[in-house]
Structures are given as C-alpha cells and as structure tokens.
C-alpha cells in the first residue's frame, strides 16, 4: 500500500478544536498531511471527488477520518452513513471525535458503523494527549485496509 497525499481527513467546524488537533497530530512524525473540512458537505465532496474536489480520484482516499457530529450543512451521522454505505469508502476507519456527551449519539455512532467514538476532553492537555493516542493507534497499531498502489498519471499518485 502506498502513501496517499492526504492521510487524515479532519471534519470539524470549530477553528479552536481544529488548531489543537492539527498541532497534536503534527507532533507525530508519521503523519504528513491533514485535510480539513469545515462542514459535512465539504467532507462528502472531498471523499467522493465531487464539486470543488472533482479533480481528485478514489486512489487518493485518506487513511483515517476524524469526524465531529455537530456540523453545518450535512451533519456528522449523515456523513458517516454515506461513508459506510458506499463500497469505495466504507473501509476507511472513521473515528468520531465529538464534544457530545449524549449516550444516544454514542450508540448511534457505533450503530451507523463508526470504527470508534471519542468524547473530546475538556482539558487542553488531555485533548492533546487523546489526539496523539488516536494518531498512534490508527496509523501505527491498526492495520490499514487495502488501497491501490497504481500510478495514475502526472498529477499526484
């Protein structure tokens, strides 16, 4: 399996949380690129190579998706549902990273096929530590699902 250009897709509308997450992930040397989507629609467009991302191909899928639940335009559960019901994207690990403490969101998340569900710690240091642990587990310990190594022409691989 070959490295793709974007390894993690981070879907979150909170600038503060995005900054914190990016900062925590960058400290892990194994992660090179994080694509950020600010709402559900942008996430869907990115993953399904449509709209402003029509130039992308399904050879460049991210290795991990960190998904918030409360998102503008299309909400997190709907994004999750679409990812897990399309055979091109359903094997990508999706980790829900949300501030929600609702039990029913937790159940719904797992029911709709989320690989895991994390409640964002309120404490700044714990949040950072949590993100690091997520990165370590999903990028190193976890075995990645199968992606293609084919070269598809000049523009990116």
């Amino acid at each position: 399996m070959t490295a793709s250009d974007y390894e993690i897709l981070l879907v979150d509308d909170s600038q503060e949380d995005v900054d914190l997450t990016l900062h925590a992930l960058r400290r892990e040397k194994v992660i090179n690129h994080v694509q950020v989507a600010r709402d559900g629609e942008e996430a869907i467009d990115f993953l399904f190579c449509q709209g402003p991302f029509a130039g992308r191909s399904f050879d460049q899928l991210p290795r991990l998706i960190l998904l918030d639940l409360k998102l503008p335009k299309i909400d997190g559960i709907e994004v999750l549902r679409r990812i897990k019901s399309d055979e091109r994207t359903r094997v990508i690990p999706v980790v829900i990273l949300t501030s929600s403490r609702e039990e029913r969101d937790l159940i719904k998340g797992y029911d709709f096929g989320a690989n895991s569900y994390i409640q964002k710690p309120v404490d700044f240091n714990q949040f950072r530590e949590t993100v690091q642990r997520i990165g370590l587990y999903w990028m190193l310990t976890n075995q990645q699902p199968v992606f293609s190594t084919r070269v598809k022409g000049q523009g990116g691989v």
Partner: protein
Amino acid sequence: MKPAEAVGFSKIGLRVLLVEDTAADAELILRELRRGGFEVSGEVVQSPEQFRRRLCSDLPDIVLADYNLGGWSGIEALDILQEQHLNIPLILVSGALGDVTAVECIKRGATDYVLKDNLARLPVSIRRALAERRLHDDRRRAEEELARKASELERSNMELEQFAYVASHDLQEPLRMVAAYTQLLAERYHGKLDAQADKYIHYAVVGAQRMQTLIQDLLAFSRAGRGGLDLEATDCNLLVKDAMQNLILAAREGGAIVKYRDLPVVMVNPAQLRQVFQNLIGNAIKFRGSKPSVVQITAERANGDWLFAVSDNGIGIAPEHAESIFVVFQRLHTRTEYAGNGIGLSICKKIIERHGGRIWLESVEGQGSTFKFTLPAKEPGAALPAGTEIGSRRPDEEHTRSLVG
C-alpha cells in the same frame, strides 16, 4: 519383423519399396541387394496411387525410386512421403541424371542417388541411409527424453518451492509460541531458580528467536519467487518512502538519512521492488560504521534500461566477496558482529532477475558500498491514460527522509 540394422556386412532383413516401371530393372536392383548382403522382402509399385496404397499398410525400411517413371517422377514419391510425414529414406536409382538435377533431388530430401549402371554402390548407400536414419531417430528420442526430464524437473522444483513456502508459513505459529513462552519464562524466573537454569532458558530464548528470523527470511525468499509477476506502473519515489516506513523501528539506534531524487516510474511488481529497496536500505543502515548512516538513491537511463544505485557510507565490502554476498545464507560477519541470516541480498537478486535486470556491487572496504541494479524500461501498454510518459521523472526537489527514532 525386426527393423533393419546396418551391422557390418552380416545378412540383415530389409523391406524395400521399389518405385520402378521397368520389370527388368527392378529385378536387377533386387538381385544387387541380395548380393550386397540383404535379405530382401520387396514390393514394386509403378503409379502414385499404388505407392500411396502401399504406404497405408506395412511401412518399408527404404524406398528406391526411379527418376523417370512414365507419367511421373521419383521425386514426386519423395513429396508423397514428406506430405505424410513419413521419415523413410528415399534413394533415387536412375539412368543418367544431370548434376544439376541430382543436386536438386538431394536438396529436396532424397537421401542419395545411384546410377543404374553402377548398382554395386547401392547396398553401401542403403546401409549409410539406414544408419543416418537410426542416428536421427535416436537423437530425436533423446531430445524428447530430455524435454520430459526437464519438465519433470520443473514440476518438482515448483513442488519444492511450494513446500518450502507452506512449511515456512506453517512453522511460524508454533515458533511464535515457543519464542513467547521461553521469553516469559526468562522474565518470570530470572534469578529465582539457579544460574544454570537462567543460562538454559537464555539459550532457548536465543534459539527460538533465531528460528523465527530464519523462517521469516525463508518465507520472504519463497515469496520472491512465487506467483505471477503482475507488473504495474509504479512510482519509485513512493516505493522508497513506503519501504522506509518499515525501517523506522530498525533505524532506532543512531539517525539514518536517506536521500533520493527524481526516481522514475517503472513497470514492476510494486511489493517486490519495495522489498528490494527495503533490503538495500536496511543493509546500508545495519552495516554502518562509526558515523550515522547516509544513504543515497539515484536512477539514470543507460542502454534502454533504468540503472539504480543505492550508495552508503558504511563499512564497505572487499571486492573478493562481491559475488558471494548474493548467495543465499552467505554472511561475511559473525552473529555477534551483525544480526541477520544472509538472505536479504539473495532475495534482491531473485527479484531483480525475475524482472529481467541485473544487480551487482561496487564497493571499497572501509568506505561504503554502492549496490547497482538495472530494470528494463518497458512500455506499460494501454493501461495508462494518454499523456503519461513511462520513465518520466517527477521534477521534485530532493527528498531527504530522516529516520531518527
């Protein structure tokens, strides 16, 4: 009826098919053959139809044909024999033939020609024709035997490779148990039994770990030769990057720097070529000297191939070992000096050669090594979209990856 054998001048049986339209001539010929030491059983035919019909039943050892036969020619009898793929020698027994005609007949496949006013030559000619045919048959039989043995050998080799693969694969599991539990024993009982017990357990642990790497190496070696080659257009820059992911843990001691730039896209089996890069880079890191390892990877066109070079600043290899290092299980150091079973380079060699390339070493002991290998620059076929050049470079800045762990 036993086949004719040319054994000196003892009487031998000979089945002759005579294509002759003059009865007297036929009689003369047969008499000459008997005088020449043959026990002849012969038949005479005159027309092409009769000739064909005779060929349907008992096949003769030899055909003697006149050149001029009224409506047809002896050479047409030759054509009939060839058309039926019958490997029976034909000798033309004829009146005066011009040299040109004679040579023409030989060229078309007649074994010899004998003039009717020199029939004494006929028995010798026949003996020689039969000997030649026997030689020819023997050789063809030998070739068939060889081909059969070769394909048996190939099948047997494949079975052995399959066995080696399955055995290495299946051995991993019980070995894992032995390795894990001997280590747990060591951990739990170290210092709690006696010094002797600690030593015994230690030997068991080391032995089990050695077995594990050996089996893994055998498995990798088996895999390198297995299955179809499955070529894909592969970007070597990404492949090197991937290979180094697997080396991060191995390079934990001392930082290693790997530099590569503008590596091409080639038609290879990506998993196998990745293994080659991984082994070469891994070796460069392992056999470093006192300074941290610096590895350079380059590629250039040379004679229609891509020539790759992986250079390091390590301990180097003396030129007298340049070939033997590619031999499986060949090592140049003791296990206390450097770990490993000596299989990495033989795997590289197997993979590169399977792809139609060559691999060799240029090195100075104490100054580092450069491993070079070639890969054919093939066309990918219709698989790639128009506008994609194979063998094109991605004009990138040089990649430098640091493996500081």
